[in-house]
């Protein structure tokens, strides 16, 4: 899980052009959106959906699940692990 979390951090920094942030700056359990986290916006959310499809071949079938899946890096890693094992 730790390896996947670190990989996700690097991928997110690259795909979202988070120029001033390094993987070490990101707390895996902090919220990705809103205050107190990375402060991502709705376009970033769409990029994360594309990232899951492109890099992990996981398609989110129910848009309502997005809030839970993309709550944090850790929740994303858990979702990927769960769906790749399935």
């Amino acid at each position: 899980m730790e390896e996947l979390i670190n990989k996700l951090k690097a991928e997110i920094i690259e795909v979202l052009n988070l120029e001033d942030i390094s993987p070490g700056d990101i707390d895996a359990e902090s919220p990705l959106f809103g205050e107190g986290g990375l402060g991502l916006d709705s376009i970033d959310a769409l990029e994360l959906i594309v990232l899951l499809e492109k890099n992990y071949e996981i398609k989110i079938e129910n848009p309502q699940d997005g809030k839970t899946i993309f709550f944090s890096i850790k929740s994303m890693a858990e979702y990927i692990t769960e769906h790749q094992a399935a």
Partner: protein
């Protein structure tokens, strides 16, 4: 009310050089646009992380507007500040990049963050969001810098009472070839440079 209009300041970014009111601000030789604009961001301490998410056209316009607007005291409300920009290549640089990302149907992953910049007036939006400008705006397309066109459009906004100040100019980017020339037009005559078509034309052409 003073009905005369003045150029409060102007900024130019071209050939890896930045000038504010004709004075050098920043230069970085032998680098491509990406390296140059990043170095300018650091040097001028923009501290606006969204900058790195912008496309090249928006980065160029945003950087020129930051440098220019920092030097100016705007004494009208944001709702009275207009933005009128022009360019030759519209958003073609990003359009091409987006097309590249979708042309292979077997590897089809359109990027939402690239797609949102496939309109030329997004650069205006980025400037307006940063400075809370909500006045009239327009993006005009012409093959070359046309001072008369910019002048006429800007004058009509002032005459109709649509704006109290206006950021105007040229912001063009395509394949690492770029040019930004912005002017801030106001009723304040501190600088005593009259807003005239010939004046903005001569400022634009006076670049060596």
């Amino acid at each position: 009310m003073n009905n005369r209009l003045y150029i409060s300041g102007h900024c130019r970014i071209k050939d890896n050089r930045v000038e504010l009111n004709g004075e050098p601000v920043f230069t970085q030789k032998d680098s491509n646009f990406s390296e140059f604009i990043k170095a300018l961001y650091r040097d001028q301490q923009f501290q606006y992380s969204k900058f790195f998410k912008m496309d090249n056209l928006s980065k160029l316009g945003f950087a020129a507007s930051e440098i220019l607007l920092r030097s100016i005291h705007i004494n009208v409300k944001g709702s009275e500040v207009g933005v009128v920009l022009a360019n030759a290549n519209s958003s073609l640089d990003t359009d091409v990049r987006y097309q590249e990302s979708i042309k292979d149907k077997t590897n089809y992953f359109p990027s939402p963050s690239v797609f949102v910049y496939t309109l030329p007036n997004i650069v205006i939006g980025e400037i307006c969001i940063k400075h809370k400008f909500t006045g009239e705006n327009a993006l005009l397309i012409s093959e070359t810098f046309e001072a008369d066109q910019l002048f006429d459009h800007t004058m009509s906004l002032f005459k109709d009472g649509k704006v109290g100040s206006c950021l105007i100019g040229w912001v063009d980017y395509y394949l690492d070839d770029y040019d930004a020339a912005l002017f801030f037009i106001t009723r304040d005559n501190d600088k005593k440079t009259n807003f005239e078509s010939e004046k903005i034309k001569s400022i634009y052409q006076n670049w060596s």
